[in-house]
Symmetry: C2
């Protein structure tokens, strides 16, 4: 499958690399066509990897991953272009973290709204699925790195078929389907984005991002 | 030990009953001295159980449990009286849930502040420890009801000695000390209070509050 990965940070790198390993073609998008980090990533990942602008990546992908930082996500998606995203699945991994006032970060949107909902409202015909935003990037694509892979990831989105496809992708990443919890529509992204204030404190305390949350019954 | 439990709802009932079972004396406090639910609870719990106003309960307790609803907590604590709470450990189990705009509830305070912090600021010489607010009341006092008792509870507070005492109390409730995570000072209550938006969605989906979160590494 042709996929577009928006963002050249650690999340984009981890997701893009995993997709290439799984045999997908990946175009990594950034603000400029000749991004240093994107070029280095392409070099490392061979013939199935390419890079371009946000627009190039969105045009290329059948499924798009939003791996940009939360504060830049809406701008990045506008640059990608609504016509290039139209009807496609957009897997939103971003978090609305605001580091501008120091540590720990606060959220730029929370409580009665979420970044996932803002993205869905801005691009109403895009099939937004929020997932993977509650854990560190190495674990997104290699869940077995903690607790034998036995921990929880969430799905939020309005489109059941899109969520089913994202579930298959997550399983291909190594997730056990029983550990993927579909919370409901995109408004449930409020719940997972508001996990971050706890996550950053646990990160600070453990001094490693290699931990996760498991819902137990 | 003499303890005060503020609030006559399910949380106050569960905590008060457990404390009596463990041999403590408990005075349950409410807005009025002759509260029907408090009287019923006293009848059920025998000689170590008594009831009175918020002020009576705060005077009586060496340790006070805030089991009032979040939107009423500051008022209840003002009724309890700062001189009756002074220097004491206040175990704050409340959550700032606002049900006035329908379901799911939003939070009356979040992101850059928390109810735990508001309480600490309003009563600066009280040793506030936020805990047990991320799970359902049956599990607070009987953690073995899910996953063999193997799941996580958090502590937030500025006073290390107070947190150590609360940890002992949690262990007496059935918690394994290794499952109690001290997140740091009272500002970390932002993290645990913001778990609630996810918790209410999971509750709605599972149709039972008998689930919990476990942090795994």
């Amino acid at each position: 499958m042709n996929t577009g990965v928006l963002g050249t940070g650690m999340v984009g790198d981890a997701i893009g690399t995993k997709l290439v390993q799984l045999g997908h073609k990946v175009k990594m998008g950034s603000r400029t066509a000749n991004n240093e980090k994107a070029n280095a990533w392409v070099k490392k990942n061979g013939a199935h990897a390419s890079a371009g602008t946000f627009e190039d990546a969105a045009q290329f992908g059948e499924i798009i991953f939003n791996c940009t930082s939360g504060t830049g996500s809406l701008d990045a998606l506008r640059s990608a272009g609504s016509k290039n995203l139209s009807e496609k699945i957009l897997i939103d991994i971003s978090n609305p973290l605001d580091f501008s006032k120091g540590m720990p970060p606060s959220l730029t949107v929370s409580n009665t709204d979420s970044l996932g909902e803002q993205i869905q409202r801005a691009f109403p015909d895009v099939r937004v699925v929020k997932t993977l935003n509650t854990l560190s990037n190495p674990l997104m694509v290699n869940p077995s790195l903690v607790n034998g892979g036995d921990h929880t990831v969430f799905l939020s989105g309005n489109d059941a078929e899109a969520k089913a496809k994202v579930l298959s992708l997550l399983v291909s990443f190594g997730w056990k389907s029983g550990n993927v919890i579909d919370l409901g529509d995109i408004t449930t992204a409020r719940g997972t984005e508001q996990i971050l204030p706890l996550w950053v404190r646990l990160f600070g305390m453990f001094q490693t991002p290699m931990f996760q949350m498991k819902i137990v019954k």
